[in-house]
């Protein structure tokens, strides 16, 4: 099964609010640690190495493209 790139989250505003809320009263360092843990928790849930590889590649390509555009 390829990486699902279609919108897939019911109530996107509610989800995003929960994500932001999870960082409440955390330092930047703690929030970064939380994000790292979230990646690991969700990666383990997905499990499928092909899907994970595609997701990692997408995140990296998107980051590099935006970094290049900003210069």
């Amino acid at each position: 099964m390829p990486l699902n790139r279609e919108p897939n989250i019911a109530d996107p505003d509610g989800f995003y609010q929960e994500l932001i809320e999870s960082q409440r009263e955390l330092s930047d360092q703690q929030a970064d640690m939380l994000s790292a843990k979230l990646v690991l928790i969700l990666a383990n849930h997905v499990g499928d190495r092909e899907v994970l590889r595609e997701a990692i590649a997408l995140a990296r390509a998107n980051t590099l493209a935006h970094a290049a555009a900003a210069q």
């Binding site: 970064d32 640690m33 843990k37 990646v39 690991l40 383990n44």
Partner: protein, 554 residues
Amino acid sequence: MSKSYTYPEFPYRQSDAQREGRVERHPLVVIGAGPIGLSVALDCAQRGIPVLLLDDNNTVSVGSRAVCYAKRPLEIWDRLGVAAPLVDKGVRWHVGKVFLEDELIYRFDLLPEGGHKMPAMINLQQYYVEQTLVDACEAHPQITIGWKHKLVALAQQADHAQLTVQTPDGRYQLLADWVIACDGANSDTRRMVGANFTGQFFEDRFLIADVVLKAPPQPAQGAQRLGSEPERWFWFDPPFHRGQSVLLHKQCDDVWRIDFQLGRDADPEAEKRPERVIPRIQAMLGPELPFELEWVSVYQFACRRIDNFRYGRVIFAGDAAHQVSPFGARGANTGIQDVDNLGWKLKLVLDGSAPEALIDSFHEERAFAADDNLLNSTRSTDFISPKSPASLRLRNAVLELASDQPFARPLINSGRLSTPTPYLHSSLNTPDEEPFSGPMKPGTNCADAPLRRRGRKVWLLDLLNAVQGPAGGFTLLVFGPRLANPVVSAGGVKARVLSVSDEIEDAEGLLAQRYDAKPGTVYLIRPDQHVAARWRGFDTARIQAALRRCTATH
């Protein structure tokens, strides 16, 4: 320096050739009398090749250095007849524990199944290993050791190499049909042939301290950080060494190996001084526990390998061919497996029973294994010693999650311990034509199994050695009654039959289980106890074809 061990001094003897000014030609010269050079000398000599072994020094390894020896190298040393004293002397262990601060977060067991003659792992100081191997080599009539013989120049000819050797009596020349260079990570021989040795360097510095405890540790003295059973203990960020990792191993003679990560900015000279080392150990073990420092070393490491294991008549093995980080005990262990792979090939080529192409399969198979080791070693290093703050954050996220979330524990990499790399894609393998299940695919080293011969317990690997004899050869492991013709030949290469039936009995059924064997199943086993081919029935023509393939005789 050492409190628990007296270093032997081996006598220098001038060779007759040097004294008389003769240029002698040798079938095989081995450079370097470390664990790999000594083992390859022993292996080749037992196969009937006269060996001249040269070493620029005259004693064994200074300091304990390589301390962990895994099951497969022990099996190889058992074939060479030297494993028993090592296993008797060594400290057996199979459990590893990983701590975050002082909390146990992960535990592994190296030997989840029984029915193997050799233990999963022993810890033994390298000087004991070398001394045992030196004794065996000195006792072997086919081996001459030249202590204080330093190779200073090497020139290659079409069918031999010319060596210039420096001794206390000056320089002399000798010729060698083949040279095996086992002169370590800083191999001079490698520079002489102009080989590339490239890879990744790591900036972190580590401190090794070998500590002799004078009395049994008491828990009140910090002994909870030593353990009652010999186990591998690894700490991330312990309270006694904040922000870094620490590794602990027990060796024999009450010597404990403690490995402190120091970071990138540590001053290697300052960190070696006892006034710096002793407080680190006291912080770990408590100020009351009496100990002596036996050996201290500060090191950095690299993960790299030679571009080709063979340059003309010069073959590279051990650290001269590949260098790994210490996490995972992959250095000496993989070097001994180089030895296992090379001896029988060299013997067949020297006898004219196989073409030189068989020597090239040494590079094919052992470079493949080296790359696998390098990959594992680099991955462990990236986890233990993250290269950037972002990598450090991910690593710490794994550790923090793992303390109460079991799913994260398999991600913890404190060094995956050495296991053999099967040569699954080797050109010497004959691919399966019939269905088999289980791990014993062509290119895999033979799993041991307990058997009974006339009611007495024997081991498969011992039987393979006995069938092959000290010179070594191929074996046909046949599941079923004994055959009228117990030998199959192809060219100058023979395979002798070992039948598992009434005389040799698979009483526990473990052999059949491990090899997915049914009545009639046949395994063709190489002289280094690796599977070359397997079938569901005995077919002489197919066995001969597999023998030719496995000796690069097409």
